[in-house]
Amino acid sequence: MTAAQPADAPPQTRRTVLLVGRPNAGKTSLLMHLTGSLQRPVNFPGSSVECVESDVTEGGTALCIVDLPGLVSLQPNSRDEELALAVLQGRTRGRPDLLCAVLDAGKLAVELAFLRQLRTLGVPIVVALTKVDVATAEGYPVDVARLQQALGLPLVVVDGRTGAGAAELRRALAALPLVAPAPEAAAGAAPVAATPTRSIARSTTDRLDRVLLHPLLGPALLVAVVIGMFQLVFAVADPFIGWIEVVQGWVGDGVAAIVPAGAVQSFLVDGVVNGVGSSLVFVPQIALLIAFVTIVESTGYMARAVFLLDRPLRKVGLSGKSFVPMTASFACAIPGIVAARILGDERDRLATITTAPLMSCSARLPVYVVLLAAFFPPHQAGLLLFLLYALGIVTAVAVALVLRRSVLRGGGSLLVMELPAYQRPRLRLVLVHTWFAVKAFLRTAGTVILVATIVVWALGYFPRPAAIAAEFDTARAAVVAGAEGDEERARLDAAEAAAYLEQSWLANIGRAVQPVFAPAGFDWRMTVGVLAAFPARELVVPTLGTLYSLGEVEASADEPDARLSTALRAAKGPDGRPTLDSLTALAVMVFFALCSQCAGTLAAIRRETNSWRWPVFTFSYMTALAWLAAVAIFQIGRWLGYGA
């Protein structure tokens, strides 16, 4: 940890260290242990940096450690590898001072061949040997002393799980004289490592693979894992959501008690508290989903899923590897689109990028959760949630199929993929991933969502015609004083709020656009919610919260912590009939499942494809599909006699 370093010794020299190694060699965990800091451990589109870097000071030397995307050789086979290679050869950010070759002890033979290539770069190298314990369990123990002797390079054994060896490695990186190693010294190294003791007994991983990759059991278990994930996310998050809502109710009541009634109180309670509160409610689900995906990935099961799905995904014109960006897109399409770089073939990559946003991301989850809780019994909600996710997947497959048969015909990327030994998930990695996802969500909730909520609140609050106030004041004056009149007064308050909302700018905008969504059964409030969600889906729930709570003073006065779900169910049109029912809710959810409502995703597609064609195409086809599907559901549902 950096805290152990004396703070009074200013760094005299600065070294750029590149962490080089195969995908899955343990570079990222190593970086965390080396610097003691919580760096986001995936490649995320930063400003110009495509790799994670982190600074640490060791004995007066400042180390800038850069985690490169995985490489298996100096011949790039995908965009990801091209980027890593450009950095490695000093083409993008200046020549590196030092390489830290992260070698997996379980594949020494190929790792040493790669190391031989790295030595030709003429940059000093420190070797970090990882997963020695895994290699031993697999029947390939490593004689570290002999290996180091043969290599003639500084070598440190590190454990990505516990962080053992990280301090020693840091010292080695800071102390190594910056002299290029002699390339020929590696000549004798390979034979040493190529003679491991081979145990005949099957390892645990082999036995697990017998079951998990079984022709029948394998796919069945994969489906079970995916369904289990959604059930878990729905069930476990529920009590947490309840607590957050209770707190939100307290805060709203507290503010209402302090601030006198009027525009300021409405702004704080209906705008700020309600808006931010309704998005905070979804933190538990987002956290659980990310944690689950990270656990699956760090056990080694993700590679098995790719293996199982390669053939079916190839049939639709994708690759088994598309499963990785697609799964990442369940959390957020932006890292998913970036992750599509692992696909070597450009047509595979484009087909994956344009269909990945159809995976239901964590920002869609709030919409589903609110509407499912409002209009469906719990035992149906879990299944419907699964079906909504399935809808995204099926649509993605269909679109990919069409694309690969038309504009993106031909080609295909390689598979050649390692299936790592099974490992217990690393709690630390899970926590870091989850924390970063939650932080990103909170940052959006705290800025964009708050501003947008206030705008929506203002549009819904103003103008307040004096005629309405006068009319209701007269009516109130006629009500008898004391407790007997309370009920009547509350009814009048609600009616007044509803009358104001009907007059608001927001209502006018909603009513103007509503004909477009009328065939899908959306009322004007839902129409506004849909419109507000185009910059970012996160906006819809706070918007709906503001819209439906503004008109429902009665409900929120009776139960301060009334959920948005209750308000949605209670929403009534001018004719007094409910404007939303389970059929409309389904149409809304399907619309959100398919629609492209995220400026960030489109920006990511623009960046990753380097053209406007693909973001425009993705936005158009998704929005058109979403509208058609929502209309189809509503119309067919009505025809079958569902709904009002």
Binding site: G106, K107, L308
Partner: protein
Amino acid sequence: MLGVDGDDALAHRLVACGFWAGAVVERLQRAPFGDPLLFRVHGFRLALRGDEAARVRVVGAT
């Protein structure tokens, strides 16, 4: 095994993954639909599609 056919990206990739002359390759499993295939080479598991695996020339296959 004897070597890898061809001199394209796939061939380079296979060599980088340890498919070179003299290496011992063991076939472990098939995916449910017959493809891809799972191999063990130098002690680690590698999944190859049928057409990718066809590029690897072997002797003494069992």
